[in-house]
């Protein structure tokens, strides 16, 4: 599994040297996530505070020297627009010269609403410097349409960018737009599979994949693909989710043959790796709407597994079966209730202590709802630890 981002050739030529240090590890919510690093305790934080050395302007290997836009004759007609942070800026970023130059010219283009090929080229540079700048991406899309650019070429471009920065929202959204304009999903499943081969849980990749499958009805091979991923890593929760997605959108789970197939598949995976939470969640997920206690023979199978393949997940599943039985069966449920309560206490005290508060709540809820003969049942049971 690749642990570092790989920069494309284009990026390397004129790239800003990224400090090894305080690159903002910034998860999901609005941008780049630092990919899972092997513990690199050699972080030299001070270097990042003082700023970073830029690549020298003289590049002996390459005859194509980088030239600032402000020095380019072909851009002399455009007046750069400096960023308007005001006299006392806050959260002021120490942009490199190159960054400032490119974005001063981007702002100028935006101000004039210039729709030209040189503007289009500049957007790529602006994206290179900050792929999370959604304003630039939007402008690039405007230009793609206004200039009637070659969308096949744009696909090649976005493919390279995503390979380089697969955990960015904008790049995937851009790809989706291009695919929609071309109305051609033919490269998508293979491309996404390639990205997933580097990180099998990339959320953006899965989101794009689900969109492609649904929009273009390309379900045919997906279950096979999911099984392949589960074969590689039975703990891949994204793959289990995809399994649910595919089946829900194709056969559904109503057909008893399908449901049974899935139950058997799950039990098989449980036997292989009993402490895999994903498969237990999947089993519960597919049975809960119909009622866990209604599936014939399931309780018996689980009780059997308890002897040889026990886990906190199995015990929790038993609680769920008993709870469903209490909910949906009439008649004397005292024994079921007492078994459920016993399990909750076992989980709270010994088998799943990190969730002690939760299991105690479940126990109290069951006790209150199914009115055990114990008259000491009160609300908000006193803390016992």
């Amino acid at each position: 599994m690749s642990a570092t981002t790989q920069r494309s050739d284009v990026a390397n030529k004129a790239a800003l040297v990224q400090p090894a240090t305080e690159r903002p590890a910034y998860y999901r919510m609005s941008g780049i996530e630092e990919t899972s690093h092997v513990s690199s305790g050699l972080q030299d934080e001070r270097r990042s505070e003082e700023g970073v050395e830029e690549e020298p302007e003289i590049d002996y290997e390459n005859p194509f020297r980088y030239m600032f836009y402000r020095d380019r004759k072909e851009w002399a007609d455009l007046e750069p627009v400096p960023q308007d942070d005001g006299p006392n800026p806050v959260v002021k970023i120490a942009y490199s010269d190159k960054f400032t130059d490119v974005y001063d010219y981007f702002r100028a283009l935006l101000k004039n609403d210039e729709k030209s090929d040189r503007a289009f080229t500049l957007t790529a540079e602006a994206i290179e410097l900050n792929a999370a700048n959604y304003t630039v991406w939007h402008y690039r899309r405007v230009l793609l349409q206004a200039l009637e650019k070659d969308l096949r070429e744009e696909m090649r471009y976005i493919t390279a960018i995503i390979e380089d920065q697969p955990k960015n929202y904008q790049v995937w959204h851009h790809r989706r737009m291009v695919v929609e304009w071309l109305n051609d999903p033919s490269e998508e499943l293979e491309f996404i599979a390639e990205i997933l081969s580097q990180d099998a849980k990339n959320y953006h990749a899965w989101q794009h994949r689900q969109w492609v499958l649904k929009e273009y009805k390309l379900w045919d091979s997906e279950l096979v693909y999911v099984e392949q991923l589960l074969e590689e890593d039975v703990r891949n929760n994204s793959a289990w989710n995809q399994r649910h997605y595919v089946i829900s959108h194709t056969t559904g789970y109503s057909d008893p043959a399908i449901l049974n197939r899935e139950v058997q598949y799950s039990l098989k995976q449980i036997k292989k790796a009993p402490h895999n939470e994903s498969v237990w969640n999947y089993l519960k997920g597919i049975l809960q709407d119909r009622g866990l206690s209604s599936h014939p023979g399931l309780l018996e199978q689980i009780l059997e597994l308890k002897e040889t393949h026990c886990s906190p997940y199995l015990l929790g599943f038993l609680v769920d079966i008993y709870e469903d039985s209490l909910e949906n069966t009439s008649g004397d449920q005292e024994e079921v209730l007492s078994k459920a309560l016993e399990l909750c206490e076992l989980l709270a005290q010994e088998k799943d202590t990190i969730r002690r508060e939760y299991w105690r709540y479940v126990g109290r809820s069951l006790q209150t709802k199914y009115c055990s003969s114990d008259p000491s049942t009160t609300s908000s049971a006193p803390e016992t630890d």
Partner: protein, 416 residues
Amino acid sequence: MERVPAPFRCFSEWHSSEKFTDDGVETVTSVEQRKVERSIQEVISVYKQIHSLPQPTLLRDQHYQYLKKGLHHLADAYACLDASRPWLCYWILHSLELLEEPVPTSIASDVCKFLARCQSPTGGFAGGPGQAAHLAPTYAAVNALCIIGTQEAYNVIDREKLLSFLFSVKQPDGSFVMHGGGEVDVRSAYCAASVASLTNIMTPTLFQNTPTWIVSCQNWEGGLGGVPGLEAHGGYTFCGTAAMVILGKEHMLDLKTLLRWVASRQMRFEGGFQGRCNKLVDGCYSFWQAGLLPLLHRALFKEGDSTLSLQKWMFEQQALQEYILLCCQNTAGGLLDKPGKSRDFYHTCYCLSGLSVAQHFGNMDLHHELIVGQEENRLAPSHPVYNICPEKVARAIQHFHQLSVPVPAQKEGSSA
């Protein structure tokens, strides 16, 4: 207030037995998980060697210096957040308010003026001056301004234009795109609901169909995905749930399966939370995940649940505090994902927010504190929906409710 003396959970003799059981079947997931557990174990062992008496300490001064500096300037490595500068304001200001460090009046005013420059002429806030409006920096800017809480701060927000921006990103199915021509996911509903409720610009139609759309994001796991069909994920689950609480529709979610899902996200060995099942612990989920428990507690209470605890959230508060204090602090200031990762303001904000959630239990009348380590580790409480201090929420709502709701001029969905 409950002070937790030794023994700490992670120093106990049985702690090691909580490590991941791979059943002899090695996969990428189990290999990565064990690597993390080893590094956590290392941290704990080193700590035990140095400190004869474990006393995890929040490095207040160091964090303060880091935050104070960042509020002014940031290294060029932050160029990748050039389209998220209101976020930087919010992460830093919220961290400072949790640490109960005042922001000098002049800086507060500078922030107001800067955020004013981030406001788009067509409404909403952008990632920086001159950029296009986007729901995420809009959320962050409004929160930052409410933290400042001065008249100047409140006056920055153009409520009429903000409302028209919200309408412009609203979709017929109830969802919102994040920005004109942008992507849809459940974060947008939270951002929209948050700013609309704080600034009192909610109209009868603004959130039409939104609760139904959010409900459709709840999946077979019990948590919520970014859009319908996706894997349950802590960040999106928080956004969806908090949005539903704001809209008063939290009962439409299956609260029981949601509760089971989030409770199961706490890592038995590390003590912190993972974002998704079978993935790794990350300090930021100390807020996104643990922060769900106060929301669910309140929702269940509203439904008439009489079996809720009167003292504790339904997660292991002590274990989370231990994880944050021992494993998520950078000795030079700032907090982080897990050992080996670099510090940043996002993780600083959400690790501290999570620490606050773990320290403070309460609702209307009850307040019960559980502080791991010395008393000085205590942070200010935070509002579980908006994640700014409750007094700031109250003041903002009080201020904006004196103003009338603007009349919407624009049609919805004009920016899809």
